[in-house]
Amino acid sequence: MSEVLDFTPPRRPSRNAHRLAASPMPLQVRGLSLELEGKRLLDQVDLTLLDNGITVILGPNGAGKTLLLKCLHGLCQPTSGTVLWHVDGLERPPVLEVRKAQALVQQKPVLLRRSVLANLKFAAKLRYSPIPQGLLENALALARLDHLASHAARTLSGGEQQRLALARALILKPKVLFLDEPAANLDPASTVLIEEAIRAAQSAGTKIVLITHGLSQARRLADNIVFLHRGRILEHSPADKFFSEPATVEAEAYVRGEIVL
């Protein structure tokens, strides 16, 4: 919980103004519920991703953030409800197109038992043939992993692995990028790197959906906040509004830094 970067962040100027004419929202969730082992872990979630900004899913440990993200990404089959994707204006796009429209960086990324460069190449080959000049080099540079290109990916430190996983996801040029606590357990420098890369991707037109339990990261990155509590979305509002006047008791307590269970 105690993030190294938990200083009061400078407020960024709102980017909302630039995003009004963005492409139509690609993802809609209707009445999504998930039950596992008799427990209702996600409860009637309705969610519409509004624009191309950064949506932060915020909530205490065990709220169901990871499960929600997995359901959105198709790694987990909801018990009821639907996840609707709109790709290229199609109401029911082909499964493969939906897959290609998104990428996920898991909290503990799984990297192939190969070199750093080979991991990036593996992803690149899934989208490009041939791989464009400079694509892998740029990805390495973005993740600041140039000097480790030939190292086995699994021998990298946690932060380096996270950066590699992010670079791998970005190579796929997703329309929506899901990130599950991308800076958990990272040192400040890696956190800054990752957040810069996330902002750059956002500016390039990628919709970002990011999980964090860290308030400071949410304040730094969020355009809007989805507040999840015990498997239910209690709030979905613009970040300024969420932090200045949270609408629920739970969110207010969470923003004050009090533990919400």
């Binding site: 790694l75 290609k100 898991q106 192939l112 038992r113 190969r114 070199s115 593996f122 992803a123 899934l126």
Partner: protein, 238 residues
């Protein structure tokens, strides 16, 4: 005792002098077993990998079948292959009985289930780790299988060594379908059986020592590959 000492001395001399009869038998053995291994690998690796990652009706039954076939008694394999290849059998026209090819077929039948079952295990373990990521990346099935086979290559090498070890040490099946014909189908194991029964212990011992060396070598290689050595995995997986 006196006799045995003499036999050992003679066996040592045969090996040291690279006795032509000895060399011929050893080379044929290796050639037959390597051929069987190549064929088995071509069948077993993709099939094992497919069984590991795909879900289709009857898959579970196939897995059980392969595990059961792993324990096939070699003489039974020999008998079945004999019946297939004999003049009255469905493949009789090929006239393969008592040829090295027949021995390759018998050894292939013997070790393919082993390769399938062990490959399935190796790839299933790796897939357990990779599956979610592959799904997330949208990796097509054939690419996934190729990647799993490649990333599991060191474990798979030990699978191949296990198959090799089992095939080269086997006697019953190759005896039945090969016939142990001098200069044609006489391999190490059948030669040892024959020479021993004739009381000619020198050649039997020489071949036995070589077979033992091969078995130990295979074991040593396997443990080298499996060694929990950070440096090795670092260098090789890079």
């Amino acid at each position: 005792m006196q006799d045995f000492t003499g036999s050992f001395r003679l066996a040592g001399r045969l090996i040291a002098a690279a006795d032509p009869a000895l060399v011929e038998i050893v080379l044929l053995s290796i050639q037959v077993t390597l051929s069987a291994l190549v064929v088995s690998a071509l069948i077993g690796l993709p099939l094992g990998a497919t069984l590991a990652i795909s879900r289709f009706p009857g898959r579970h039954g196939l897995v059980i079948l392969c595990n059961a076939l792993m324990g096939l008694p070699p003489v039974v394999v020999g008998l079945l292959v004999y019946m297939m290849l004999s003049n009255a059998g469905p493949l009789g026209v090929l006239q393969l009985l008592y040829t090295p090819t027949a021995m390759v077929i018998a050894q292939t039948v013997l070790i393919t289930p082993i390769l399938i079952a062990l490959t399935r295990q190796v790839i299933a373990d790796l897939n357990h780790e990779y599956a979610e990521t592959f799904h997330s990346l949208g990796v097509p099935a054939h690419t996934a299988i190729a990647a799993l086979l490649w990333d599991g290559r060191f474990s798979l090498l030990t699978v191949l060594l296990a198959g090799f070890g089992r095939a080269i040490a086997e006697v019953g099946a190759v005896m039945i379908v090969g016939g142990n014909i001098n200069h044609v189908t006489r391999v190490m194991t059948t030669a040892i059986a024959l020479e021993t029964s004739k009381g000619e212990l020198a050649l039997a011992l020489a071949l036995g020592l070589i077979l033992l060396a091969i078995a130990l070598g295979v074991n040593a290689l396997t443990s080298m590959i499996n060694a929990p050595d950070g440096k090795r995995s670092h260098v090789r997986s890079a």
